[in-house]
Amino acid sequence: MTGPKDMGRHDRTSVPDGKSPLGQVRGLGSARHGGDHWIRERVSSIALLLLGIWFIVSLLLLPDWSQPTIREWLASPLGFVPMALFVYLSFDHSVDGLKVVIDDYQGDEGGRMMWHLVSLFLHVGVGALALFALAKIAFGATS
């Protein structure tokens, strides 16, 4: 089982105790948080299903799409709060989804970590910008 053909990526992390990668982890039990990411992705998906419907229906119910009309809507409590949640959860769900995509196509562990960080930083940065814009609409002076 340890011929040259098996010297794949698992071998780099194996300790020289003669155990196979499977043997090393057998009996350790679950880390108890393996399902966290999976569950979080689904919780945000259900929330986004409701918020997505709210977003489209709300836009269609507005009398017009002029800047003052949309700003007035987003400055009201029932416009601002769902919109803030919609923005936050969209970015949150996007991080979770792209993490799966990165894991599937990036075999190298270091590369995976780097792309996860790049993705996270971009999401936090752009997402914060979107929330800033929304806060400015709701609380800021008209410019």
């Binding site: 299903l49 799409w65 996007s94 800021g140 410019s143």
Partner: protein, 110 residues
């Protein structure tokens, strides 16, 4: 199979195109009137409309196949016939919703 790939492709499209557009829309709303007018001009151009229609279809397709995934997550709908019927239903549903949305926006609204 095809629906699973579509779920991923539309998810990536929404992640990049959708979130950037959402952010740009909010920034232009928060800023000066000229910036929002620019947004409206670009969004209303033929290319802009194509992107918006594509993103709205992506949203509907991703949402409907997302519901399908949630159904399969609870262990239902794995029978071959029903599974395929659900997959095809997501395609038809997404196209119907996209056409209905834009028929209303471009036909009734505009």
């Amino acid at each position: 199979m095809a629906t699973s790939i579509l779920h991923r492709a539309t998810g990536i499209a929404l992640s990049i195109g959708g979130l950037l557009l959402l952010t740009w829309w909010l920034l232009s709303l928060a800023g000066a009137a000229s910036g929002y007018a620019d947004f409206g001009k670009i969004a209303g151009s033929p290319l802009g409309l194509l992107v918006l229609i594509g993103l709205s279809w992506s949203f509907f397709q991703h949402t409907l196949s997302g519901i399908r995934h949630l159904i399969m997550d609870v262990g239902a709908g794995f029978e071959l016939g029903r599974n395929k019927a659900m997959a095809i239903a997501t395609w038809i549903g997404a196209v119907i919703l996209t056409v209905a949305l834009w028929a209303y926006i471009l036909g009734v609204r505009a």
